[in-house]
């Protein structure tokens, strides 16, 4: 029995697990470890109109149960991605979620329009939340009006479903979510990394050349759960949940908070087999929990709190 297949706008997924954008390149590296067709989908690395060299190194730093990164949207640019990266992925039976980024609305529109022509791209993910590029996407992510306007502009040039990847670095994430839903977004991805910093106490220098970076990994999971719990009750579009997923139990928690699929980021770095292992573990766990289909769990925790009798004894 298939307990795992889920269908989201544009994404017909065998299971609800996809690698998160920026944590999987364009798949080539991980294809050396396993068949990418086992994945529910792949969120490919952000594409910008031009080639980006990214930030100076060091670009990663480890923290308690997490990591900071400041890669800076390094990518070979839309032309190269269309010519060399996406065609290579055609041999895999897996839908692609194309992450797009830019400096201006025009940048997003240009990349959205061009990448929509790729035969194996099934949906777009607007990256309005990268914390590592100054005065760029993030301004769209922190202003509900701008986020809505960008969503409308992209929807106007592409027939593909559009997911908006929300930033957790805001006071009212539900406000941004409601605004992009109103503007026609087909789904949400949440959350992107939380802005953070680490200092080398021997020198007093920040470890990252960019000084600040985006925090990911298990440390951010409770924040993601809270935000998805809150946002999913405000909107009616599906949410791809992400933020520190390391186990099948984590995936169940994201679903119960209100997610309809999940993306796995940092865990791929700790273990290249993270995604296929999670898919297997998730199936086993659902069987154990006697859940007949994963989608039954979406939003199970909404407006729910009961005293836990077993723990109060």
């Amino acid at each position: 029995m298939n307990r795992l297949n889920v269908e989201l706008p544009g994404l017909k997924m065998k299971n609800p697990v996809m690698p998160a954008s920026g944590c999987f390149g364009f798949g080539q590296e991980y294809a050396e470890f396993y068949d990418l067709s086992v994945l529910g989908a792949v969120a490919v690395k952000a594409a910008t109109p031009e080639t980006r060299r990214g930030n100076d190194t060091p670009r990663v730093a480890e923290t308690e149960s997490g990591m900071l990164n400041a890669i800076g949207l390094q990518n070979p640019g839309i032309d190269h991605i269309l010519a060399h990266e996406l065609p290579w992925l055609e041999k895999y039976d897996v839908p692609l979620l194309a992450n797009i980024a830019g400096k201006t609305k025009e940048d997003y529109v240009l990349v959205a329009e061009r990448i929509s022509d790729a035969t194996n791209v099934h949906a777009l993910e607007l990256n309005i939340s990268c914390p590592n590029v100054k005065e760029e996407g993030l301004q769209f992510g922190s202003d509900p009006q701008m986020a809505a306007e960008l969503t409308r502009a992209v929807k106007a040039v592409s027939s593909l479903p559009v997911y908006v990847k929300l930033s957790p670095n805001v006071t009212d994430i539900a406000g941004v979510a409601a605004a992009v839903e109103e503007a026609g977004a087909d789904g949400l991805s949440m959350i992107n990394t939380l802005m953070g910093m680490k200092i080398d106490i021997r020198t007093g220098n920040p470890i990252l050349a960019n000084k600040t970076g985006g925090l990911s990994g298990p440390a951010v999971k409770p924040v993601a759960i809270r935000m998805i719990y809150e946002v999913s009750q405000r909107v009616s579009i599906p949410i791809i949940g992400m933020g520190g997923i390391y186990s099948a139990e984590d995936i169940i928690e994201f679903f119960m908070a209100g997610a309809s699929a999940v993306a796995v980021g940092t865990a791929n770095f700790s273990d290249p087999f993270a995604c296929p292992d999670l898919i297997k573990d998730l199936d086993r766990l659902l069987e154990e929990m006697e859940v007949s289909h994963i989608s039954e769990l979406t939003g199970r925790s909404w407006n729910k709190w009961e005293p836990n009798l077993s723990s109060s004894r």
Binding site: C23, T57, V60, E62, F269, S270
Partner: protein
Amino acid sequence: MKKENLTVISQENLAPRIYRMKLKGESVRSMLTPGQFVHLKLGGRHPLLRRPISICDVEEDQLSIIYRVEGQGTSMLAEKKDGDTVDALGPLGEGFPITPSDDTALLIGGGVGIPPLYYLAKQLYDKGKRVKIILGFRRQEEMFLTEAFSRFGEVFVTTENGSCGTRGFVTDAIAKAGEFDVFYTCGPKPMLRAVEKAAGTNGYISLEERMGCGVGACLACVCDLKEAETDKSYVKACKDGPVFQAGEVVL
């Protein structure tokens, strides 16, 4: 490239904070190229990332690594006892090429950059090459592997405080080592820069970089190319390296 829980068969303290660990497993048989590395997972969710450790020697299904205890990951590695296992991914990266036309090789290692040169020295020696080795340490108490290297060729030691061998840095011993056709070096970046300047262009350098995934996906360990090609201006230390031709990347 495989992921396997390798079994610890020995662990010894070679110098202050420097340990040699021997590990056993089937995937070790594929670790044939010196200069490649293994990516070790220690702990569950903290530390979160794997630790890249260079391959020091391989004998059948036995791997030797030499590492310095720097932080939590390497401390956990040092606590491993015989019979414990270590989650290892490897071999990763591109190692040192051995060129048939070069007869005399000069190996230049500094600190924990020394271990990968051991496996290289052994292979060069087995191929009948003449091997000269410069090993740089801060002080005599921190020296390791100098005896072992002498099996393969003449060893020149430098110490920063002059407590053994030539006083100064590895570059201070290059003239003493005499002529060579090709050089191979591994150590901290300032050392690599100095060696590149002093030893010419026919050589290979192995970079130490902070890595995320170790397999080429996360772009944490990129280095700029000196002569940028049109569609590629950078390389990844984990996947395209850690070994590069001298003068290829910006140090």
